[in-house]
């Protein structure tokens, strides 16, 4: 194992060691996705019972939306909260004076985000299949591309949140929970972009997730893969990620200049 991978693993191990012993922590990861799936699963069952066949496909897109939005949300929170846990335990001082480079810290947080997302979303997917006869894997291999795009968007948002916490300290913490929820209405998670007022549509199309959800509906409703939407999602994600990386680099430098790294979390 090279020194770099070992440093990244070191930071991931710090978080994994906590989960090894604490079942409430593990449970908490799956709690909200499963709860969400229960609410929307029953809602979709109710609509199907009342409206018959037309609601079956609508229900499927609804459940697909719930599950895939959880991918974005859990990826973002998995990364932001892993960083906040370092801050809450007043451990950042030790981490930033170790040989761990800032980009290695970001890679470790991304690694934790993937693990936390999988532990959160997989039980919800299983629930959807077992109780609501909805199998997200039926979408086919393109599902992997949906997952990857949504995870990247989550990481970009999380990196933005981490940057603001680095610079502004605990005051920016609520963004870790709130920011992505604010984007949900514009991301076309449960309804197509065409439903949105025309002046909001440019905002919606600037979000990588919108293209994934439009693509998901195309697969579920028409059985076609919209490569144009997937390409747009990837391109936007690269832009978002580059913007977030730039913000992180600048805020990290600003925090080192202002002394915020010394007092972060206080």
């Amino acid at each position: 194992m090279t020194a770099m991978f070992r440093r990244i693993w070191g930071l991931m191990y710090r978080h994994l060691a906590l989960y090894r012993r604490s079942w409430p922590r593990l449970l908490e990861l799956a709690y909200w996705p499963v709860l969400n799936m229960c609410i929307w699963g029953f809602t979709s069952s109710f609509l199907q019972a009342r409206m018959g066949n037309p609601a079956v496909m609508a229900g499927a897109t609804l459940l697909g939306g719930v599950l895939l939005w959880e991918v974005t949300l859990r990826s973002q929170m998995g990364m932001s909260i892993s960083f906040l846990e370092e801050m809450w335990s007043r451990n950042l001082g030790h981490i930033f004076v170790s040989p761990l480079r800032p980009f290695e810290m970001v890679l470790a947080l991304i690694g934790m985000s993937v693990i936390r997302m999988m532990l959160g979303v997989l039980p919800a997917m299983l629930l959807a299949w077992a109780f609501y006869a909805f199998n997200l894997f039926a979408v086919g291999p393109v599902l992997i591309l949906f997952f990857v795009n949504l995870m990247i968007m989550g990481w970009a948002v999380a990196l933005g949140v981490v940057s603001l916490v680095l610079r502004h300290g605990a005051g920016a913490e609520p963004l870790a929970w709130a920011f992505l929820f604010g984007l949900a209405p514009f991301s076309a998670v449960f309804y197509p972009v065409s439903i949105l007022p025309s002046f909001i549509r440019p905002v919606a199309y600037a979000l990588p997730a919108t293209h994934v959800f439009e693509g998901m509906r195309a697969v579920l409703l028409q059985g076609t893969i919209r490569w144009d939407h997937l390409a747009a999602a990837f391109a936007l994600n690269m832009l978002w990620l580059a913007g977030a990386a730039l913000l992180f680099t600048r805020q990290f430098h600003a925090a080192r200049d202002s002394g915020a790294l010394i007092s972060i979390g206080e």
């Binding site: 004076v97 170790s98 080192r256």
Partner: protein, 246 residues
């Protein structure tokens, strides 16, 4: 080559000089005490030496590495301990050691952890969460973390603050022993003058971000005509007496 070289180092926040054009050198294997009252600039200086804070001007070199250009090469060979920076409280002592063993790429990590556990008497608490330890145990664990990579330069910010005299003495004895065995260079910021007299071969006195005096503890006692460093410290802090000409 000196282990630490600080030249004309300043840190300014707006119009306030937290550290103002200070300079000192620490030869390999020496222990330097950084003394000063609250707000004198000790923690700011240490933060700049660790790369946590960017200096406004000046230069810091640790083990031949310029901290502005190549801090990670130096950070791998140094370490730091402070009672004001915690270790994750829910991880056990062993897990904390493992985390830092990985971060510092320590070869033979388990052997090193066992070695430190034996030397710092951590055997019985290795599998206890760090948050459940007493202040004395936490200090010994923090010291073990600071020594996990066998540092060539060790920065200690008030290493025995909040310890009872017995534990404080054990820590000081252990630091003396470690320095003698490893040839490690130590920079110590402390308010405990007896500790500084015992451990340090040289002392830098800071006041309002400036070096107001420096020398060996014996030199300072002689120059200020005092019997202990505490009185020298008070003379400087309260502007009571100037050093007598050599």
């Amino acid at each position: 080559m000196n282990a630490i070289e600080v030249e004309n180092l300043s840190k300014r926040y707006g119009g306030v000089h937290a550290v103002n054009a200070i300079g000192f050198i620490v030869p390999p294997g020496a222990t330097l005490g950084l003394l000063g009252g609250n707000g004198a600039g000790k923690t700011t200086t240490i933060a700049m030496m660790l790369g946590l804070l960017i200096p406004t001007s000046g230069r810091i070199s640790v083990l031949g590495h310029d901290m502005a250009k190549n801090r990670f090469a130096a950070l791998a060979r140094m370490n730091f301990s402070s009672p004001y920076v915690a270790l994750p409280s829910r991880l056990t002592v062993r897990e904390n050691m493992e985390v830092y063993g990985h971060l510092y790429n320590v070869k033979g990590m388990n052997r090193r952890i066992a070695e430190l556990a034996r030397e710092l008497d951590l055997g019985e608490i290795l599998d206890r969460p760090a948050g459940q330890l007493s202040a004395g145990q936490k200090t010994r664990v923090a010291l073990a973390k600071a020594l996990i990579n066998r540092p060539e330069v060790l920065l200690l910010d008030e290493p025995t603050a909040s310890l009872d005299p017995d534990t404080g003495d054990l820590v000081r004895t252990w630091l003396e022993q470690y320095r003698a065995e490893s040839g490690c260079t130590i920079l110590l910021a402390s308010h405990n003058m007896a500790e500084v007299e015992r451990l340090c071969s040289r002392v830098v006195m800071l006041k309002k971000g400036q070096v107001v005096d420096q020398g060996s503890p014996d030199d300072l006692l002689l120059r200020y005509g005092r019997k202990d460093l505490e009185d020298v410290f008070l003379d400087i802090a309260r502007d009571r007496r100037q050093a007598m000409p050599a």
